[in-house]
Amino acid sequence: MTKRLSPRFFIILLTCYLVVGLFAVRLFYLQVLRHDFFVQKSERQVQKIIKIQSHRGVIYDRNKRPLALSKKAYSIYAVPPKIEDAKQFAKAVSSVLKLPKGKMFKSINTSYPFVWLRRKVDREMMEAVTELELEGLHVINEEKRVYPKVSLGGDVLGFVGMDGGLGGLEYQYDTFLKGSSAKIIVEGDPRGYPIISGSRDVQGTPTGFRLGIKRFEPMSFDGGHVYVTLDERIQYAAEKALREGVERMEAQSGVAIVMDPHSGEILAMADYPQFDPNRFYKAKDKVRKNSAVVDVFEPGSVFKVFLMASALEEGIVTPGTVIRVPEELQLFNRTISEAHRRKPGESDRKTATDILVESLNVGTTMIATQLGEAKYYKYLRGFGFGQRTGIALPGESQGLLRHPRDWSAVDIGMMSFGQGVAVTTLQLATAVSVVANGGMLVRPRIVQYLTDHESVTVKATPKTSVRRVISEKTARQVREMMGDVVTHGTGTPARIRGYSLGGKTGTAQKAAPGGLGYLKNDYVASFISVFPLHDPQVVIVVAIDTPRKSIWGSTVAAPVVRQIAKTIIETHNIPPDELRLP
């Protein structure tokens, strides 16, 4: 009979407990000491990333007509390592995709596992590609930006490259339109099904929600819509009038802006030459930029309006103040002269209104010197010159308005008739709006409001009155003077039968590159206007660059304004208000 509590018994027992202890230590090592390492491993294999393709929002005009929208498109790519016979592959695919065979062969003759063959093709081509059923040939869904009105408003809308907006509103509101390139990180099993008790993490900014099991869950990451202030019809008319005007005068380019002076809404913004944003890559940068906000020019005589407004506001003159205006004026080392010779026997006694109506450089110089540099500068700043208007368009210039301490003695005179300053067309339109709306500077707006993808407004851009620049009385006086410009001054070509219209012409020599004097034969012909004069509804500004057939604001730009104003009569249902016809 063996002894039960023998040494061997204890050896066995001890060994067993030693093993148990060893296990506990081993577990401590795995679970406590190397805990972080394994947690990371566990998370990495459990976390599944779901990428969500967001849809780019639509750009609508003020009447909810789509100007830019996104359509389904298909992109074709190859996985070269999976291609069996690269030559055959290149031959078959290149004929379907309508691409050169040799080039395709070169691009797929690689070990790189991803090569774009052609992006954003239409449905037909995609179906032809899938019918090939080739190994290593794949299709993914993408979106293609489509501009249904082709070039309409192209300079304002901008365009979209492969990966985002590259110009205009498409660029300005890219992140908003694009939505969020979202990732949802869920904990899932190896087949990808989410784990019931697992966590859920969302990267990206969701724009839509639904009521989930426990809480609101993000459902959509789509981009929102942009409603612009443009009116498709006015935009079309402005573009057409501008194009015709530029072509008629064999000019280089031109810009036209139609703006609501009360709200600051831009109803039309045309920039010729135009481009088709659907095929933006075919146009040069020079064409694709929006000259109305990007480019500056010396305004010339249209600028006299703002001197007159300042002088009236300051009480230097009244519309009827009579001033002796010589034909030439010596201002320090410079002789100021008129553009047109005076008729023989014409009086040199001119009213302030006459000075504007006849666009007398000497007269404005005299008024300006009387006004003084500091005050003149203050008013010009007040009208918004030398500063960005703050419109939601990319690349806006602030123009050039120097501080009086940098002015030479003659500068005040030069500036009074629009030399030595540079403005954008939009700045001009904004400044004219001050006159048109009764003295308030309003911020020009291109975007009315933004909505999310479900058309719920997320942000409205309200009318912003920046400041009062001149009194209502002064504004009215300036408008009356502008009316005289059109009825019996330089602006007569803009007249419309039965309608009142106020305006001012400008014919400015273009500054030579490098700031050395002026180009002899290159002019910017411009026309600013308030329409209808007695109940201002729109401000129309047209500037045409380097016209050849004629150079005058009256002959080149005024007819364009007239043509646009005629459309406004229809869109705004404006009744005739001018009954006494000459």
Partner: protein, 366 residues
């Protein structure tokens, strides 16, 4: 043969087993629901089946307490060959069921039976009877140890054919422990061990895949998605549990990352959900089981009962330790369930019966 005096059974052993069973039930609810839902459309599919096993097991447990353990002694040989017969049946095509490359189960229509679980009980009885009888001749290899091992070679050969390496190792481990306790000369033990090593060496030479297995066991990170996927997933489950665990039911690896997460690898999920604390509690309970088992053996009335109690205790505890050793990467992967906790009918039912027999032994004290 009736024992002169019957005391009440050793309830502290019962309580230890009860704790393990409760933990087993909790883990069952946690681990089987996912698979049950996805494969059978019923999250409680396995739990319900387990309920049946529990009832059968409790029936056998009561039988084990009631039937005097001396009865098995009378039918030791018949039982042994009955077990061998059942084992042999698994190798036949229609009766035997192949799961995951191993033919270990008998198809009984309503359920599968794993005969090795029955075999283990009869081996325990056979060893106890033999060792109790051959006590005086234990130093004579040809008369005691030799014949015993020869007899055991029969079921082991069948298990090798199935194959079921885990249970072979378990049977050999229990056998050698009992031989050691029965005062087999150390020289004999040593000779047996070295011949065993030679056998293993030749086996590896013949089947190179075993060498690969050992290699991968030594360096599991070499091929974490291939053949070491299983053990790596087990590590991740255990390691990510940390000190306190994710909480019961919060395992992530049980979502089809860790295969066999409700049977052989349930301990990994247990570690993930309950943390180190829970794992150590389970280890402690098995330690307590070993202690109570040995206590019952020492107090057993006869030498036969002494060996039987030890054999049963070893089968229960060593199986658990083998399982945990595999799961935590201390032993190479062999398929063996965790006693009282893993889902697995035959093992669970028979384990309850073994506990019943152990309690019966505890009733008759020397």
């Amino acid at each position: 043969m009736k024992s002169p005096k019957l005391t009440s059974p050793d309830w502290s052993l019962g309580i230890v087993v009860l704790f393990l069973m409760v933990i087993g039930m909790i883990m069952m609810f946690s681990t089987t629901s996912v698979t049950g839902l996805s494969q059978y459309g019923d999250a409680y599919y396995f739990v319900k089946k387990h309920g049946i096993f529990l009832l059968v097991g409790l029936g056998l447990f009561v039988l084990g307490i009631r039937i005097p353990h001396q009865v098995y002694k009378e039918y030791a040989f018949q039982g042994f060959f009955f077990g061998v017969f059942l084992l042999l049946l698994t190798l036949f095509p229609v009766l035997g069921v192949k799961v995951g490359g191993a033919q270990r189960w008998l198809n009984l229509g309503a359920f599968y039976l794993q005969p090795v679980e029955i075999m283990k009980f009869f081996i325990a009885v056979f060893l106890s009877v033999s060792l109790a009888n051959k006590q005086t001749e234990i130093k004579d290899f040809m008369k005691s140890v030799g014949p015993i091992l020869l007899m055991l070679m029969v079921p082991i050969m069948i298990l090798a054919k199935q194959p079921d390496l885990g249970n072979i190792i378990l049977i050999l481990l229990v056998t050698f422990s009992l031989l050691f306790l029965a005062e087999t000369p150390l020289s004999h033990m040593f000779a047996l061990l070295s011949s065993g090593l030679v056998l293993i060496a030749t086996s590896i030479m013949l089947y190179p895949y075993q060498l690969r297995r050992i290699k991968s066991f030594l360096d599991p990170w070499k091929d974490p998605l291939g053949q070491n996927y299983h053990i790596i997933q087990s590590f991740i489950a255990i390691g990510s549990g940390g000190f306190l665990g994710h909480g019961i039911g919060q395992s992530k690896l049980k979502y089809f990352y860790l295969p066999l997460h409700y049977s052989d690898f349930v301990f990994s999920i247990l570690c993930e959900e309950g943390g180190w604390i829970f794992a150590v509690i389970v280890l402690g309970l098995f330690g307590a089981l070993l202690y109570r088992g040995c206590f019952i053996a020492v107090k057993a009335p006869t030498q036969y009962a002494y060996f039987l109690a030890l054999a049963i205790t070893f089968f229960l505890v060593f199986q658990a330790l083998l399982n945990i050793g595999v799961v935590i990467g201390v032993f190479p992967v062999t398929g063996i369930p965790l006693t009282f906790i893993s889902y697995g009918g035959s093992s669970y039912v028979m384990s309850l019966f073994l506990v019943g027999v152990l309690l019966n032994i505890s009733r008759s004290r020397a």
